[in-house]
């Protein structure tokens, strides 16, 4: 009875029927209370977005798997300290982190959000070393500016690592190492070896437990297809783009970068649970061959124990198992895909036994759409198609084993990967990851031109995906090249209409370009796509701010903050609105919130600098601008403000130097020239100032403040006619009311001796 119930539960999970799964699982736990079943129930809850239930069930459990799941539920409920103690108990300092790479990754995130950068970096690096295809960890390292070059991380060593994992896996099950497409034989062999299956199960579990904390914006969250619960397994599906013979290919669902196994731990657990039943064993065995997988080194540990507590390393590799696994993968991916957008942890649903072909197809389309990174590789699709066909063909044999749920691993397809195929597959994946990783790392360091060049090296199919295009747009934005950014982002929208990643930056680009029509249109689309995404509300706030309705804009940004309090940009935008409303205290608080979340968010440093500049606390202002400058040394705007602050501190030579640098950095930016003229004027170097302003006049001929400043200088020089002329032109160019008043007053004073000269 237990086995049947477990089967039903996993079936329901695979089909995304959560309520059914939860109900049946509760019956299962009531009838056979055991930790395994409890884990299964927790997994059901997690997939149904009820982290709180999972939390309560798993409280106090000790096994590694349970601890991992518990940590995930704590993380989702924002109880970071509990999550941390679960993953690495205080009384066991040297203890093993459950679930290998996934566990390290989760721990890294916890450390990051509790402001312990060094430990976070340490764990992300560990996770990457265990599983080099764990893109999410690399991304986090980039954000923390602690990433090594992509060529190192995704290099030779990584390829060997991947290969080792697969080989290990293969070793564990002698059947695995079949380099032929001998699915049936494989399966039959597998059938025989229970041990192997168990081991495999464990492996899969390991793979599955990769959780990806929800707060992943955009990064690659490709939810790794969780291995089917039944097949204990291969949660890690690696997607290989290589169109080489299917056998070695596992359904590459996602292009390498997104290997994240977003799988609920539960799934792994489930598999574990299913292990109990002979069916699952069978399944797992079958699955095992397919999985190219990963548990490196821990194979040994997987002994006859059903549950592998030691987290064998779960590589986040998405191992696409051929055949059933593939199916599972694809569906899983699909599931993950949807989930990833909703910050779901591991919602991998495994495709169940249902006709593989169906699943596969579904999976394929899902996977295609839901790949957040938007990297779709054609090769990959081909691979998948191939696999599907393979699986279908192998299906009949699988059918015989009606026991298997998904495991019909018969169509093993991918499992039999020979060593050389693994290596070549791995290196292709890694090659792609290298380029993307390098691009991302450079753009996090704000070396945007280099990042753009790196992205251009990507193959066309990868470049034209929403993740890459958004990154390109972001890079242009940082270079203050708003037109190009607009182009890149609109391409990204066309390629992937539903993706919200990076749309907040796009709305800022449109704000800068003052395109209120486009911005309103964007906002409408975003809100209708997802009302609960922080990016949509940020965009709406930008729209109102463009119309100068700062209070409504502030409300929208606050909504965005409520939706995701770890979204640093929303806090910064709130800060900007507070400043516009002249509420400096709250502005400072908002900027500081943003910095707490991401201390490399240079916009927040800039915002603080501006507040202090307004409040005339010039030293603070200079410090903050300098911090912003250190983070993004190429932004001419920041440089010009740093110069202004320096000038206010009377360090005018440094100010002029920085202004010159700013002018060089971006010829199109008129601001540093204008500021330089200002500084020169206050240093009484009138001729130099006039020279600069003459240049500026050609550059921006309709800017009234240029003429006004020139008029002022001529007035100081007592060249009244010229001053009059320039003031007149300035007035013609329709300056703001305050300036009109100032200029007119200046004109009047032109005919009056300058004794009572005030600041004019």
């Amino acid at each position: 009875m237990e086995a049947i119930l477990t089967d039903c539960v996993q079936n329901s999970l695979r089909h995304f029927m959560f309520k059914n799964a939860i109900f049946l699982c509760e019956r299962l736990c009531a009838e056979f209370p055991s930790e395994v079943n409890l884990r299964l129930l927790a997994a059901c809850y997690l997939q149904n977005n009820q982290a709180y239930s999972a939390y309560h069930i798993l409280k106090g459990t000790q096994t590694a798997q349970s601890r991992y799941l518990f940590a995930i539920s704590c993380f989702q409920m924002d109880l970071l300290s509990e999550a941390e103690t679960a993953l690495c108990p205080a009384n066991e300092p040297g203890g093993e982190i459950p679930n290998g790479a996934a566990g390290h990754y989760l721990l890294g995130l916890i450390y990051r959000y509790t402001d312990r950068k060094k430990s976070a970096i340490h764990h992300f690096r560990l996770a990457l070393s265990i599983d080099p295809l764990l893109w999410a960890a690399y991304e986090e390292l980039c954000v923390l500016a602690a990433a090594e070059e992509a060529t190192v991380v995704f290099g030779e060593a990584a390829a060997l690592c991947v290969q080792k994992q697969y080989l290990h896996y293969g070793l564990a099950s002698p059947n695995l190492h079949m380099s032929s497409e001998d699915y049936n034989s494989v399966s039959s062999q597998n059938f025989g070896s229970e041990d192997v299956s168990l081991r495999q199960l464990k492996h899969t579990q390991g793979n599955n437990l990769r959780d990806i904390p929800c707060n992943y914006h955009g990064a690659a969250v490709l939810s790794g297809p969780a291995s089917q619960p039944q097949s204990g397994g291969p949660s890690n599906m690696s997607f290989y783009n290589t169109p080489s013979p299917m056998t070695s290919q596992l359904s590459g669902v996602a292009p390498p970068p997104l290997c994240r196994n977003v799988q609920p731990n539960g799934s792994n657990l489930h598999t574990v649970n299913t292990d109990v039943s002979p069916k699952s064993v069978v399944n797992s065995t079958i699955q095992a061959p397919r999985r190219k997988f990963v548990d490196e080194g821990k194979l040994r540990k997987i002994s006859g124990r059903l549950f592998s507590d030691s987290g064998p390393r779960r590589s986040t590799r998405l191992t696409g198992d051929a055949g059933a696994n593939t199916n599972a993968n694809t569906t899983v991916i699909a599931g993950n895909g949807t989930n990833s957008s909703s910050k779901y942890l591991g919602s991998s649903k495994f495709s169940t036994v249902t006709p593989r072909t169906v699943t596969v197809r579904k999976g394929q389309s899902w996977a295609n759409e839901n790949i957040e990174e938007g990297i779709r590789s054609d090769a990959f699709d081909d691979a998948r198609a191939n696999m599907t066909s393979k699986s279908t063909s192998s299906f009949p044999s699988g059918d015989i084993r009606s026991l298997d749920q998904d495991g019909e691993t018969v169509p093993v397809g991918g499992v039999v990967i020979s060593g050389s195929k693994v290596i070549s597959g791995a290196s292709e994946v890694l090659g792609l990851l290298r380029t993307l990783g390098e691009g991302y790392r450079l753009s996090c360091l704000y070396r945007c031109q280099d990042a753009l060049d790196t992205y251009l090296r990507l193959p066309h199919t990868h470049y034209n995906t929403s993740w890459v295009l958004s990154q390109v747009g972001k890079a242009h934005f940082e270079l203050v090249d708003y037109l190009e950014a607009d182009r890149a982002f609109s391409l990204a929208r066309r390629v992937s209409h539903h993706s919200l990643e990076g749309m907040d930056i796009y709305s800022t680009v449109l704000y800068h370009l003052k395109e209120d029509m486009k911005l309103s249109y964007l906002v409408q689309e975003l809100i209708s796509t997802d009302r609960l995404a922080p990016q949509s509300w940020c965009a709406m706030g930008n729209c109102y701010s463009l119309q100068k309705d700062h209070e409504t804009a502030l409300k929208n940004f606050q909504r965005s903050v409520q939706l995701n309090s770890r979204f640093a940009y929303a806090h910064t935008l709130c800060g900007h609105e507070y400043v516009a409303l002249e509420d400096f205290e709250n502005g400072i608080k908002s900027y500081q919130n943003a910095l707490r979340i991401d201390s490399r968010h240079y916009n927040a440093w800039y915002g603080l600098g501006m507040i202090f500049l307004r409040q005339e606390k010039f030293e603070f202002s200079e410090h903050h601008f300098r911090m912003a400058f250190q983070i993004n040394p190429r932004s001419s705007v920041i440089m010009s403000y740093l110069g202004t602050a320096l000038h206010a501190l009377k360090k005018s030579e440094d100010a002029i130097k920085i202004m010159d640098r700013a002018i060089l950095a971006d010829r199109k930016n008129p601001l540093p020239m204008y500021q330089k003229a200002n500084i020169l004027m206050s240093l009484e170097k009138f001729d130099d100032a006039l020279e600069v302003l003459e240049q500026l006049k050609e550059y921006a001929p309709r800017e009234s403040s240029v003429y006004a400043l020139m008029g002022k200088i001529y007035k100081r020089h007592n060249m009244h006619e010229k001053a009059m002329l320039h003031f007149g032109i300035a007035l013609d160019l329709k300056p703001s009311a305050t300036d009109v008043a100032t200029i007119k007053a200046a004109i009047e004073k032109l005919h009056v001796p300058d004794e009572l000269e005030d600041n004019l």
Partner: protein
């Protein structure tokens, strides 16, 4: 400033009124930062009705003339425009007729800066605070007092439905002598 008045001298007469409140873009409403008080009011029709953005509610005074609305700021602000919503058709003898605007540092040194006579107003009435001199575009003050000196048909008490006070927007970029007008400058002038 869109004034619907035909005033040409200091003491002008204003007739009519806009149904819609239209104010130039470079002005912003400053009333939120001020403390508003009135010389007297009837229960239920207090000073909050002047600021609730609801034209159905009104302030009704309850004492001797002149009736005063005091607007006090924490620091000196530049003000350019005062807009009132008054309606003869609805309020008849409660409609204000002579209004005097005073400014100063506090109650002790208010000076009249503008007097206006309204003749059957029916909507938003714009009272510009600028003088003729370009240097007097704004009134830089701590306090503004709007005094209703008399009403239509010699009514004793007055109804005012809404009051808004406008001043210039500050320069978004601090420490700049002038504001930027062209798109290139504005685009590059801030980081968002």
């Amino acid at each position: 400033m869109a004034t619907e008045s035909s005033e040409s001298e200091e003491e002008g007469k204003i007739t009519g009124g806009n149904q819609h409140l239209i104010v130039e873009d470079d002005l912003r409403e400053m009333g939120k930062k001020a403390a508003w008080s009135v010389s007297s009011c009837k229960t239920g029709n207090g000073v909050s009705s002047l600021r609730d953005d609801n034209l159905e509610t009104y302030w009704q005074s309850d004492g001797a003339q002149p009736h005063l609305v005091n607007i006090q700021f924490q620091k000196k602000v530049k003000l350019q425009l005062v807009v009132l919503y008054v309606d003869f058709k609805l309020d008849e003898s409660y409609t204000p007729s002579k209004i005097s605007i005073r400014a100063g540092d506090g109650f002790h040194n208010l000076k009249e800066i503008k007097t206006v006579e309204l003749v059957k107003p029916t909507g938003w009435v714009y009272l510009s605070l600028s003088g003729n001199d370009p240097r007097e575009t704004f009134v830089n003050t701590f306090m503004l007092q709007i005094a209703v000196l008399s009403n239509h048909l010699n009514g004793r008490d007055t109804h005012v439905r809404q009051i808004k006070v406008y001043g210039p927007r500050p320069n978004p970029i601090p420490h700049q002598p002038f504001q930027f007008t062209s798109r290139e400058f504005i685009t590059y002038s801030t980081v968002r």
